[in-house]
C-alpha cells in the first residue's frame, strides 16, 4: 500500500463523518435556500417552487432583516469589546500578587458560564423588572428615574448586552489568566529595575505578550456573539418592537415557527457569509498589525 492511499484510509472515517453530518446537510440547506420550501411543500411536494436567489433577494429587501442585522452588529460592536475588557480586567485582578482567596474568586467569576441561560435569565428578568426589580430599586436610591429595562426598545438591547457579558466573560477570563501566567516574570522584574510604572508595564509587556491570545479570543467571541439567540429568546422574545430580534432569532422564527425552511436557510447562509467576511477581515488586520 503506497503512503498516499494509507493516508486516505486513515482519513476516511473522519471524512465520512464530516461529509455525512456536516457537508451533506450544508449542501442540502443550500439547495433548500434556493426553493420556497414551506408547509404547503411539506403537504405536497408539487407545491415546491424553485426560486433561485429569490429568498436572498427578498431578504435583502426586508426591513426586518436589516434591522435584525443592525441589532446583531450593535450587540457585537458593543458586546465584544466590553466582554473582552471585563475578562481581561478580571484576569488581571486575579493574577495580581495582591489578590486573596484566588480559587474562590476564580470559581465565582467562572460560575455564570456553567449555569443555564434559561434559569439565569429568569433571575435577570426579576432583577430588571421595571417596578419590583433590584436594578431600579438601586437607581431609585440614587434618585434616578426608573428605567424600563426590558420594555423600552432603547434599553432592551443594552440590558441583553449586560446579561450576555456577565454570562460569558468568565470563559475568556480563564484563557487570559492562563496567558498571563505564561508571561515570564523576569520581564516585569527588568522593567521594574528600569523604573517602568505599572501602566507602562501593562502597555509594553502584558499587551504585546497577550497579542496572539487576544486575537484568538476576539475571533471566538465575535463569532459567538454574532450567533445571538438564547438571550433574546428567553428574556424578551425578540421584542419590544422587535428591538432585540437578531439574525439568528429571525432564522428561528422563519424556520421553526413559520416553517418557511427555504427562507430560513437563506438567512443562515447570509449570516455565515457575514461572519466569514468579518473573521477574515479581523485576521487580515491582525496580520498587518503584526507586520508593522
Amino acid at each position: 500500500m503506497n503512503p498516499p492511499r494509507a493516508a486516505w484510509l486513515f482519513l476516511a472515517p473522519a471524512l465520512l463523518v464530516l461529509g455525512l453530518f456536516f457537508l451533506l446537510p450544508v449542501i442540502a440547506a443550500l439547495v433548500l435556500s434556493l426553493t420556497d420550501y414551506d408547509l404547503y411543500a411539506l403537504a405536497d411536494i408539487r407545491n415546491l417552487r424553485f426560486v433561485a436567489l429569490g429568498n436572498y433577494w427578498e431578504l435583502l429587501h426586508r426591513p426586518l432583516f436589516w434591522s435584525a442585522l443592525g441589532h446583531t452588529l450593535y450587540f457585537v460592536v458593543v458586546g465584544v469589546p466590553l466582554s473582552i475588557a471585563v475578562s481581561l480586567g478580571a484576569a488581571l485582578l486575579l493574577n495580581s500578587p495582591l489578590a486573596r482567596c484566588k480559587p474562590f474568586f476564580r470559581t465565582a467569576l467562572f460560575a455564570p458560564v456553567v449555569t443555564t441561560v434559561v434559569a439565569v435569565a429568569v433571575i435577570w428578568r426579576y432583577l430588571f423588572n421595571t417596578k419590583y426589580g433590584l436594578a431600579n430599586y438601586a437607581l431609585d436610591g440614587l434618585g434616578i428615574h426608573p428605567v424600563d429595562w426590558l420594555g423600552d426598545p432603547r434599553w432592551a438591547m443594552p440590558t441583553i448586552i449586560l446579561f450576555a457579558v456577565w454570562k460569558n466573560f468568565g470563559y475568556n477570563m480563564i484563557i487570559f489568566l492562563a496567558a498571563l501566567q505564561a508571561i515570564p516574570a523576569d520581564l516585569y522584574e527588568a522593567a521594574r529595575i528600569d523604573g517602568a510604572s505599572p501602566v507602562r508595564q501593562f502597555r509594553h509587556i502584558t499587551l504585546p505578550m497577550l497579542g496572539p491570545t487576544l486575537l484568538m479570543v476576539s475571533i471566538l467571541t465575535v463569532s459567538g456573539y454574532f450567533q445571538l439567540f438564547a438571550e433574546p429568546f428567553v428574556m424578551t422574545e425578540g421584542g419590544p418592537l422587535q428591538s432585540t430580534t437578531s439574525v439568528l432569532y429571525l432564522m428561528y422564527e422563519e424556520g421553526f415557527k413559520w416553517w418557511n425552511l427555504g427562507s430560513a436557510s437563506a438567512v443562515a447562509f447570509l449570516l455565515f457569509l457575514i461572519m466569514f467576511a468579518v473573521t477574515a477581515l479581523m485576521l487580515r488586520v491582525a496580520r498587518r498589525g503584526g507586520e508593522a
Binding site: D36, D38, L39, Y40, L42, A43, D44, R46, N47, R49, R125, N129, T130, K131, Y132, D148, L150, G151, P153, M235, T236, E237, G239, P240, L241, Q242, F256, K257, W258, W259
Partner: protein, 436 residues
C-alpha cells in the same frame, strides 16, 4: 482433525453466544414493542395542563372499555406546534390529539387529519346542534369536519366591580362609548393606575375588537388582507387611542409580570383575557376581595360585541390504526357529565350548551359572562397562514401604539404584509390542478 476442531470451538461458542444475544435482543425488542402493536392501546397527545386533568378522567373510560389502554403524552404549549409538524413530516403521529382550533387549517392542509362527518352523523353522544355554533364552525375546513370541540376559549372583560362603583358605574360597559368613559374615569397614570392592561405583544385583544366588525379580515376567498376596511380601522383606532389617552400602559406581558396581583391592587380596573383567569383570580386574590371582581361580555361598537371563537378540539390522525377506539374516547370526553368534571378539575369551559346546565358552572356568577359571550363568538379565517398574519398585525399595531405609524399607515402596512404572506396561497389556488 482434533486440533482443527479444538481451534474452531472458541469461534463456535462465540457464534452461538452472538446468535443467542441477537435472539434475546430481538425478543426483548418485540416484547418492548408489543403494547404499541396491540390493537388495544391508544396514544393521546395533550397540550399544556390538560394532560394532568384528563389522566384523572381516563380510568372511567378504561373501565367502560376493558382491555383498552390510553397512553397520554403531554406536550408543552411552546413545543407543541413544532412537535406536531415534525410528527407529521416523520409519519409518527399519535392516534388522536388535542389541537388548538386555529391549528386545524394547517394540519388539514397537510392532509394529516381524519374527516369526522360520518362518525358525527351516526353518533348518539356528539350532537352538533348542542355546541356553540361558531365554535363548531372552526372545526370545519371547506365542507369537511376535522375535529370535535373539547373546550372553549374566548376573550372578555374581567373588571373590578368595586372600583367601577366608586367611579359611579353600576354595571360594566356594554358598548365602546360607555367603555371609553369608564376607562377615562378609572385611569390615573400619574398615580400609576390605568383603566386596562393590553399587553402590546399579544394579538388577541386587538383581534377581538377587529372580529366585532362586519367586514371580514381577509377578502377574495382569503387571498388578500382586508385590513384597510373602515371597520378594521375603527377597531385599530379604538385600540390605539386607549394607549394615546394613557388608559393602558404600553407594556408587553413580559413586563406586566404578575397582572393578577396588580388587578387586585387596583393598578388595572379592566383586564381583557380568557376563561383560565377565573381560576387564577380565585387562587391569587385574597378571600376578602373575591366579591370585588367579575366578568362581563365584551362591549361592542354599538352594544354587546363578538369575541373570538378559540379553544381546543380533539382530532384523529389519518394514519391512526385505531380510529374506532379513538372516536370512542372523543365521545367519552364529549359527554356533558365528563365535561363538567373536566371543568371542575381544570376550569376549561365546555363547548356544549347542555354541559353548562349542570355542575359547578350552572350557578357560577363569574362564568355567566362567558356563557353569554359564547353565543356571540366569531371564528378567524380558516387558513394555515392566519397565525402569521395576526402576529404581523400586532407588530404593526404596536408601532402605531408607539406613535411611529398613523392608523391609515398601519392598516396599509398590515395589508401589505398579509398579501406577501398569502402569495403562496394565491399561487396554489390559481394553479389548482384538476383532480386526476
Amino acid at each position: 482433525m482434533s486440533t482443527r476442531s479444538r481451534q474452531r470451538r472458541p469461534w463456535r461458542v462465540l457464534l452461538h453466544a452472538l446468535a443467542w444475544t441477537c435472539a434475546g435482543v430481538a425478543a426483548a425488542l418485540s416484547a418492548g414493542c408489543q403494547p404499541a402493536d396491540d390493537a388495544r392501546t391508544l396514544t393521546f397527545w395533550t397540550v399544556g395542563r390538560e394532560g394532568e386533568a384528563v389522566a384523572k378522567l381516563l380510568p372511567d373510560f378504561e373501565r367502560e372499555h376493558p382491555g383498552l389502554h390510553v397512553k397520554v403524552q403531554q406536550l408543552p404549549l411552546t413545543a407543541a406546534h413544532q412537535k406536531l409538524l415534525t410528527a407529521i413530516a416523520g409519519g409518527s403521529t399519535p392516534d388522536l390529539t388535542q389541537l388548538g382550533n386555529t391549528w386545524i387549517p394547517e394540519l388539514a392542509a397537510l392532509d394529516a387529519l381524519e374527516p369526522l362527518d360520518a362518525r358525527v352523523a351516526s353518533s348518539q353522544v356528539v350532537r352538533p346542534d348542542d355546541y356553540f355554533a361558531n365554535i363548531w364552525t372552526t372545526n370545519r375546513i371547506g365542507n369537511t369536519l376535522y375535529g370535535v370541540p373539547w373546550y372553549v376559549d374566548t376573550r372578555l372583560l374581567f373588571y373590578r366591580s368595586d372600583l367601577l362603583k366608586q367611579a359611579g358605574f353600576d354595571a360594566p360597559p356594554r358598548d365602546w362609548a360607555q367603555w371609553r368613559r369608564a376607562l377615562a374615569a378609572l385611569s390615573h397614570p400619574d398615580r400609576g393606575s390605568y383603566g386596562i392592561l393590553l399587553p402590546t405583544n399579544e394579538f388577541e385583544q386587538l383581534l377581538v375588537l377587529a372580529l366585532q366588525q362586519d367586514e371580514p379580515l381577509l377578502r377574495d376567498g382569503n387571498r388578500y388582507g382586508n385590513f384597510r376596511s373602515a371597520g378594521f380601522k375603527r377597531a385599530l383606532a379604538f385600540y390605539v387611542d386607549t394607549f394615546r389617552e394613557r388608559q393602558a400602559p404600553a407594556i408587553t406581558n413580559v413586563e406586566a409580570g404578575n397582572p393578577w396581583t396588580e388587578f387586585g391592587r387596583g393598578v388595572y380596573a379592566f383586564y381583557l383575557s380568557g376563561p383560565w383567569n377565573i381560576g387564577e383570580f380565585r387562587k391569587r386574590l385574597p378571600a376578602a376581595q373575591q366579591g370585588d371582581w367579575n366578568t362581563a361580555p365584551l362591549p361592542g361598537e354599538h352594544g354587546p360585541g363578538a369575541s373570538n371563537a378559540g379553544g381546543s378540539s380533539l382530532v384523529i390522525f389519518r394514519r391512526s390504526a385505531h380510529k374506532e377506539e379513538a372516536w370512542q374516547l372523543i365521545e367519552f370526553l364529549s359527554r356533558p357529565a365528563v365535561q363538567q368534571r373536566f371543568y371542575d378539575l381544570l376550569g376549561d369551559m365546555p363547548p356544549r350548551r347542555s354541559s353548562w346546565e349542570g355542575g359547578a358552572l350552572r350557578g357560577d356568577p363569574k362564568a355567566r359572562g362567558f356563557r353569554e359571550q359564547l353565543e356571540r363568538v366569531k371564528p378567524t379565517p380558516p387558513i394555515p397562514e392566519w397565525e402569521r398574519i395576526v402576529t404581523e398585525m400586532q407588530l404593526v399595531a404596536a408601532q402605531a401604539v408607539h406613535g411611529d405609524l398613523s392608523i391609515d399607515q398601519a392598516a396599509a402596512e398590515i395589508d401589505r404584509r398579509a398579501d406577501l404572506i398569502l402569495e403562496k396561497r394565491r399561487w396554489i389556488l390559481d394553479h389548482a390542478k384538476p383532480a386526476p
